[in-house]
């Protein structure tokens, strides 16, 4: 089809048919403000309700102002984006939004990263000319997410993520007119809803309406307590994103600086969740091979595929929506929980500290981890294996509070033994990474041969659902990968329907995997941020001297000294778990495209 020619602010623009005025303007360096609009291009995620009207522009020949996000370019259009009429309209819209918005910006959790605040500043709002009723809602606190709907501007980004992308269906717009709000069914609390705590609603909320539970004060208190030994683990995706909180380019790897900062904060030992990721591969990989061998030997009771179980939002999802399939996922605990279990037994014994005096903190790109560490099955006599799970954003806040000049920090190394890891563990942070790590180990264990190439490009990418066949010395192993719970649902439905021929499937709840997690620095609608983090993760993998989990010397030592072998009785007790039927409403939502 022919390209469309139009003029925006006196500049000629040529675009593909179907392009919105907003995108066309961006092509010629004109950034029209938006609030409800969200487009993560590489991930095919779009929210375009045309509801907030902040992006209105003047189109000649049209009587009304047009929302540029939802107006398609037409041949010969003459568009003006900054006339007095447009600016006045935008200010009026913003003032009306702010007339029903709390004025506690100075102490709001989103201050400084709030899209509403930034847009109001950009529009030069210095006075609100409208006074009216203000909405008041009860604050809703779940283990992971806080909903403060007084701050909701009804952009519906959260609703789109929760329903269209995740197919979780916990949030929906209810009521009409002034009493409209986004809420779970029957306005109940999130804990009673189908919420998986994936945190993607928080990741896209343009205001302080949806935020994470803040655990920074508990950490400060624990660090100040001389009776406690406080150790920390950092998830792989954190090091590829933390720098953004300090103004660094997306994709900057800050592993060394992060370790320095944690040591300066006063943690007694700075360890790595990557160590536990290697351990996960030992357990999950062995489980995969055991199930695969049983299956190939014709054991009718063995079912495949095996599904990964590292992602806590994904675990919550299948417990809610597919409880009848709860025997399919691997029983391996997530790396966070494996770390906690080993830290409070093996490591606590090593340093002669009682588990009650050992505080395990984790830095996670994830909000569901906060819920996961509170699960009853991960406690011993009421004492949790992991005491507090903080997001990447919370770590940045801790660093800032403690007067640490992050950018000038020297690189430091993780402590031993639980800080040592391989490249296979690092890639747990991205979609495709867990299964690639599993393949690296499972191949060598199964075939007894050394891998000629360690990187499996065929498992990488950003497509929502991917598949590849890996040759295990003549035995083709079919692998499926999904990120985003809507994509996961599609794969689960195909397993249920019996149309799936995968041996193993990796699932991560968030777009791009953990690098796009709900606890990461906000991407503000730029999917390039997430792809840059993915590049950084693979870069770290390449730089590692050891890139296969089973070659990690400290993992070998852990098995020799303590666990025995993968799937041993001790391993089962400490590193594996079981799942529950948590379905509240027996509803299956088909994926909308």
């Amino acid at each position: 089809m022919d390209k469309i020619n139009l003029i925006i602010d006196h500049k000629p623009v040529q675009v593909e048919p179907g392009t919105s005025l907003l995108k066309a303007a961006q092509q010629v360096g004109i950034n029209i403000p938006t609030l409800c609009y969200l487009h993560l291009e590489d991930l095919n995620i779009e929210n375009k309700p045309g509801g907030c009207r902040i992006c209105v522009v003047e189109v000649s020949g049209r009587r009304n102002l047009a929302p540029s996000c939802a107006t398609v370019c037409q041949e010969g259009m003459v568009v003006k984006t900054n006339t007095m009429r447009v600016l006045n309209a935008r200010r009026t819209v913003m003032e009306l939004i702010l007339s029903d918005h709390p004025f506690d910006c100075l102490i709001c959790a989103k201050s400084g990263t709030c899209d509403l605040q930034k847009t109001a500043q950009d529009l030069g709002i210095r006075e609100i000319h409208y006074k009216g009723e203000q909405s008041h809602y009860k604050e809703d606190r779940s283990p992971s997410i806080i909903r403060d709907m007084d701050k909701c501007i009804l952009c519906r980004r959260c609703e789109m993520m929760c329903n269209k992308f995740q197919t979780v269906g916990a949030l929906w717009g209810i009521n009409r007119g002034f009493t409209s709000v986004v809420a779970p069914a029957f306005e109940q609390d999130l804990v009673k809803s189908t919420c998986t705590y994936c945190g993607q609603c928080v990741a896209v909320c343009p205001t302080g309406a949806l935020t994470e539970v803040d655990n920074t004060n508990q950490i400060i208190r624990a660090l100040a307590n001389p009776k406690k030994t406080v150790i920390v683990q950092t998830a792989p995706a954190v090091r590829a994103a933390l720098g953004e909180e300090f103004g660094m380019e997306p994709g900057s790897l800050v592993t060394g600086k992060m370790v320095s900062a944690l040591k300066q904060l006063g943690f007694d030992y700075v360890f790595d969740t990557d160590f536990a990721a290697d351990l996960t591969i030992m357990e999950e990989g062995t489980e995969l091979l055991k199930r695969l061998t049983n299956y190939l030997n014709g054991n009718k009771e063995e079912s495949l595929p095996i599904l990964t179980s590292c992602c806590p939002a994904w675990v919550n999802f299948f417990e809610e929506y597919f409880p009848e399939m709860k025997d399919i996922p691997s029983t391996a605990r997530s790396p966070q929980q494996m770390f906690g279990a080993i830290a409070k037994t093996y490591f606590a014994d090593k340093i002669g500290v009682d588990r009650k005096d050992l505080i395990v903190a984790s830095i996670m790109p994830c909000l569901a981890k906060k819920y996961e560490c509170q699960r009853e099955e991960f406690k011993t006599d009421g004492n949790p294996d992991v005491d507090y799970a903080l997001s990447t954003r919370e770590l940045a806040a801790l660093i800032k509070q403690s007067n640490i000049d992050f950018l000038s920090l020297p690189d430091a190394d993780f402590d031993k033994p639980m800080g040592e890891s391989t490249g296979a563990a690092v890639i747990f942070g991205t979609t495709g990474g867990v299964i690639e790590a599993a393949v690296r180990t499972a191949y060598e264990v199964y075939t007894g041969k050394t891998l000629e190439r360690i990187s499996f490009e065929e498992l990488r990418g950003m497509e929502g659902i991917r598949h590849a066949t890996i040759d295990f010395n003549g035995l083709p192993i079919n692998i499926g990968i999904a990120h985003g719970l809507g994509n996961a649902r599609e794969l689960l439905e195909s397993i249920k329907a019996g149309t799936c021929n995968f041996h193993a499937i990796e699932i991560m709840a968030c777009p791009g995997g953990c690098i796009g997690g709900g606890g990461q620095p906000l991407h503000h609608g730029k999917s390039g941020v997430i792809t840059a983090r993915q590049k950084a993760i693979y870069q770290e993998d390449l730089a590692k001297p050891i890139r296969k989990s089973h070659e990690n010397p400290y993992i070998k030592e852990l098995y020799t000294e303590f666990l025995g072998e993968p799937l041993s009785e001790k391993s089962h007790h400490l590193l594996h778990t079981h799942y529950f039927d948590r379905s509240k409403v027996k509803v299956v939502i088909p994926k909308t495209k």
Binding site: V168, W172, P184
Partner: protein, 160 residues
């Protein structure tokens, strides 16, 4: 799960499931299904919304969103004789408000409530399309035109 626990009759639930089937369990027919559901149960308690969600394979939060959007749908049980006062423009200018006040006084309920004996419930609606008869009152499916406050007692008497 809903906090309010309501005992639903099995035959009513079966009827609702049949209604959903008659609409091919199509999620786009949600409003029609809810309309029928309300006529079966008299109102739409959380349990009914959960059944609709399950049958149409949509989130219950979405069903609740639609139920709370349209004033026609109610989560409060209707009386045996649901009274609706039209508050459309024509009825309003011809004195619907006074008629409403009289109903409120006689029944001792507010709009959206049901009398203690469960006999009457009182609601307002916007235009039933009979503006020539303004002000209009509906009791169940029966329509009363040119109602004056004086005529309220006479209407109620029919159902006592």
């Amino acid at each position: 799960m809903s906090s309010i626990k309501v005992e639903l009759h099995e035959n009513q639930v079966n009827e609702l499931v049949e209604v959903c089937k008659s609409f091919s369990n199509d999620p786009f027919e949600l409003i029609h299904v809810l309309h029928k559901a309300q006529s079966i149960f008299g109102y739409l308690p959380a349990e009914v919304q959960e059944i609709v969600a399950r049958e149409l394979k949509i989130p219950v939060a979405k069903v609740y969103g639609v139920v709370t959007f349209y004033s026609f749908f109610s989560m409060i049980p209707k009386g045996q004789n649901p009274i609706s006062i039209c508050m459309g423009t024509a009825c309003y200018v011809r004195g619907a408000e006074k008629v409403l006040e009289e109903f409120k006084r006689k029944l001792a309920v507010e709009v959206g409530e049901t009398t203690k004996d469960g006999r009457f419930s009182l609601n307002c609606l916007r235009c039933v399309g009979a503006c020539g008869l303004a002000p209009v009152v509906m009791v169940g499916d029966k329509t009363y035109g040119r109602v004056s406050p004086d005529g309220v007692q006479e209407i109620l008497a029919e159902y006592m």
